[in-house]
């Protein structure tokens, strides 16, 4: 038991590496928020475009979302980081992680938004169009606001699941929390920094889960 406590809850090691872990926590938090914002925004934009039913465009959108939903995020990040420089494109590990995870989230979010858009009752379209609203105005003011409310529960679940992949950024040398914890662990020959990271992840993601619950109740409306 003492050996366990010393290995995972060594106060001296924890204190020594706490500042580094906190630096990592900020990176993780920044990456997570950036991914959420751009991923959801891009997903919504794609769903909006898809509603116009332009054949070639929709083919590309569906190809994109199917591809990014099928590939493991780790593979996408590695290909982006180590593969893109061969065609002359180089981004930092942080930028690559941000872009790749945003694209993955966008792919899933698009599919969820699209399901929401198609489940809005046809009568809503007809009512809006009959007052002279254009197709895109109807989509923007009437259909998408309802679609978003319907999609909040699946969307928040998916967002949290994908955002946790920020830990994957450790493979492309981003100094996020897991990277820092692993480095510290090697130096200290003690796993307590990992305990700190676990607490850090709870600190980042637990509020996110609570926030999603709040949003779900806030935007649910009586039918």
């Amino acid at each position: 038991m003492d050996a366990f406590l010393d290995q995972f809850f060594n106060a001296e090691v924890m204190l020594r590496y706490l500042p580094d872990i906190i630096d990592g926590l900020w990176v993780t938090l920044g990456l997570a928020l950036a991914v959420i914002v751009t991923g959801i925004a891009l997903g919504l934009l794609l769903a909006f475009i898809r509603a116009f039913q332009v054949r070639g465009v929709n083919f590309l959108i569906i190809l994109f979302i199917d591809l990014f939903r099928a590939l493991p995020p780790l593979v996408i990040i590695i290909v982006g980081y180590f593969g893109l420089p061969y065609i002359g494109i180089q981004f930092s590990g942080f930028a690559i992680s941000w872009i790749c995870l945003s694209l993955v989230l966008a792919a899933f979010a698009e599919e969820i938004f699209w399901a929401g858009i198609t489940s809005v009752h046809k009568g809503q379209w007809e009512a809006a169009r009959s007052t002279g609203l254009s197709f895109s105005e109807t989509l923007g003011y009437v259909v998408i606001p309802q679609a978003i409310r319907m999609t909040i529960p699946p969307l928040t679940n998916r967002t949290i699941a994908i955002t946790k992949n920020t830990a994957l950024a450790s493979v492309v040398a981003v100094q996020e929390m897991l990277t820092v914890a692993q480095t510290s662990l090697a130096y200290a020959a003690n796993t307590s920094p990992l305990t700190l990271a676990a607490i850090g992840y709870l600190l980042v993601f637990f509020p996110l889960v609570l926030l999603s619950r709040w949003i779900e109740t806030r935007f649910a409306w009586k039918r």
């Binding site: 809503q124 007809e126 009512a127 809006a128 169009r129 009959s130 007052t131 309802q146 039918r223």
Partner: protein, 257 residues
């Protein structure tokens, strides 16, 4: 199509709605087989007929929610089925009220009414709200302006939907079975609003099974069956001096219960 003298004398203005020889097919199914409908200013035209006879489709061809397969639709003389017509501009002049209300559930009653005023007619917020309050007052629901559809009864929802249509000051309002989804005790309030609207001179086309209302309020009744107009005339002519057997058997069925 009969040539019987119908409706009130309304002077020499263009008809508000003029649909000529409308055909509409969904795939192989021909739903409208050459229907013509002319509605004069301030007229209330009632369309009755069995389920599937094409009443809704005909109504929806008048504001091009359905595109006719062939035929011409004119609104106050302007051919809206012509190429290059901005249909969104035309639809502002044609209100529509649906069986299932179709209020926007994420907006309050007043939000439902102001949306098109602001986005289509480009009114500023204050003008749109004033206009919406006026329309809600006409349907007796100004005190429910801030309520959401889920907080309103079916009858109230339908009255808000009527307010949404008339706030645009349309030249004609199309009603597609406005009371069929309502509990019997709520039907009266909606019919009353429609009666007021008619008194104020609104041109209306109503698809409905409310025969008593038709008898009291309609200038002209049209009986459709199988995608054609079988019989039309004043309520007296259609209900009392029925000419066609199909009309007679339909009337017997709907007035039975």
């Amino acid at each position: 199509m009969s040539d019987t003298d119908t409706g009130r004398a309304t002077g020499r203005r263009d008809p508000v709605v003029e649909a000529l020889d409308i055909h509409k097919s969904f795939g192989d199914l021909e739903v409208l087989k050459g229907v013509s409908l002319t509605v004069d200013p301030q007229e209330l035209v009632f369309i009755i007929g069995p389920s599937g006879s094409g009443k809704s489709t005909m109504l929806r061809c008048c504001n091009l929610l359905e595109q006719p397969t062939s035929g011409i639709v004119r609104i106050t003389g302007e051919e809206i089925t012509a190429k290059g017509v901005d249909i969104n501009l035309v639809r502002q002049r044609i209100g529509m009220v649906f069986q299932s209300f179709n209020l926007y559930p994420h907006m309050s009653a007043i939000g439902n009414v102001t949306l098109a005023l602001r986005r289509v007619q480009k009114m500023d917020a204050a003008a749109a709200e004033a206009k919406a309050h006026e329309a809600l007052s006409k349907v007796g629901l100004d005190h429910k302006a801030q309520s959401y559809p889920s907080e309103l009864s079916g009858g109230q929802q339908q009255r808000v939907a009527i307010a949404r249509a008339i706030a645009m000051e349309p030249e004609v309002v199309l009603f597609d079975e406005p009371t069929s989804a309502l509990d019997p005790e709520l039907v009266g309030s909606v019919l009353e609003v429609m009666r007021d609207l008619r008194e104020s001179g609104m041109t209306m086309v109503v698809v409905s099974h409310e025969m008593r209302f038709a008898e009291q309020a309609a200038d002209r009744v049209i009986f459709m069956d199988g995608g054609v107009i079988v019989e039309e005339g004043t309520p007296q002519q259609v209900f009392r001096d029925t000419q066609h057997e199909r009309t007679r058997s339909f009337l017997a069925r709907v007035t039975d219960h």
